[in-house]
Symmetry: C2
């Protein structure tokens, strides 16, 4: 069966992904049927297959899109490779927090539903996750070489830093005690501490 | 219907929880039926209700037990309130990592299935989670008062530290590059950095 193309088909394809993200985040991948997704989009269950061959592919595409958009959004920040590791770490922290608190459902699914990916799809997502992790690992290693960071184990520091930063999206609520920019500033400071760097966050602004 | 009591009933109640933990972790709460749980335990579906009134209560009891055991296990560490904040932070980090990497399924469910708790049950679990968070927040605040830690925001530092430490259970695999004790040592060092403390981890052993 041919996939629908053209702007109306593309719009529906996006709507299918959006509906699946909402339903997967609420009920979990295994509990959601293609029929429920079709109903949320307002198309017949049979027509859904014009936009995605099956639920596994739909999950894979959601996770792949999330990681590809994340990598593309970081690239679009245009952080110069010539910039100091301190400045790049600061920009990375602000970027990561802003990106993740805007997409709590996609972040949630990207961690939670890894268990439901087929092994091949899992491996492909792992490659993208590793690529993202290497951005921060690269900054830390270069900072170490330049003497501005002091780290014992670049890989563990990377995993610790990503967990610390992503954790914000599990508790952040709009209208809470701190505004996103204030939260980001605190996490910039904490990232510098974790990297053993001088607290240059404010100076680097 | 009376709940079964006595040692055989208690054994089955534990088996029901264990089976539910495994199934919820694998498929998600919403996708698992009471019939599947009964089948995994080897009892008739009708008999399951002797051990738990419904799936919601079962989920709540799993999450409550997890938090109560965690709090009890920390209490059993017998860390003296007279001990220095540095020593207590070190012991907390070692405890938290060891406890969490041994129970990846329960940790996973405790974060992921919060969304499926009824509001009242959610509030009760939040009280327990807050009680646990306050252990580390108390250590940090006291360390700040004693001048051994330097933190800007005790609440954010607490959330950052718990996310950083719990993150280990998402990637830790037996037989990996580092043994649990080595991982814990690195995280003790990183927790000291995050708390702005001197790196006394080795000295405190």
């Amino acid at each position: 069966m041919a996939r629908k193309s053209g702007s109306s088909g593309e719009k529906t394809r996006v709507a299918v992904q959006e509906a699946a993200v909402t339903l997967f985040a609420k009920h979990g991948f295994a509990a959601v049927s293609m029929r429920q997704i079709a109903s949320a989009v307002g198309v017949q269950a049979g027509a859904l297959y014009l936009y995605t061959p099956d639920k596994q592919t739909l999950l894979y595409e959601i996770l792949k899109n999330h990681m590809e958009h994340l990598l593309a959004a970081w690239a679009a920040e245009n952080v110069s490779a010539e910039a100091s590791p301190e400045l790049r770490l600061e920009q990375f922290v602000r970027f990561h927090i802003a990106y993740h608190i805007e997409r709590p459902e996609r972040v949630f699914i990207s961690y939670m539903e890894l268990r439901n990916l087929d092994p091949d799809n899992f491996s492909r997502i792992e490659v993208l996750r590793r690529e993202y992790e290497q951005i921060i690992e690269g900054i830390l290693v270069e900072g170490q070489a330049h003497g501005c960071f002091v780290i014992d184990d670049a890989r563990l520091t990377t995993m610790a830093m990503i967990a610390m930063l992503t954790g914000v999206s599990t508790w952040y609520r709009e209208g809470g005690r701190l505004a996103p920019a204030d939260i980001a500033q605190h996490y910039v400071d904490m990232a510098f501490r974790l990297g053993g760097g001088a607290r240059l966050a404010h100076a680097a602004e």
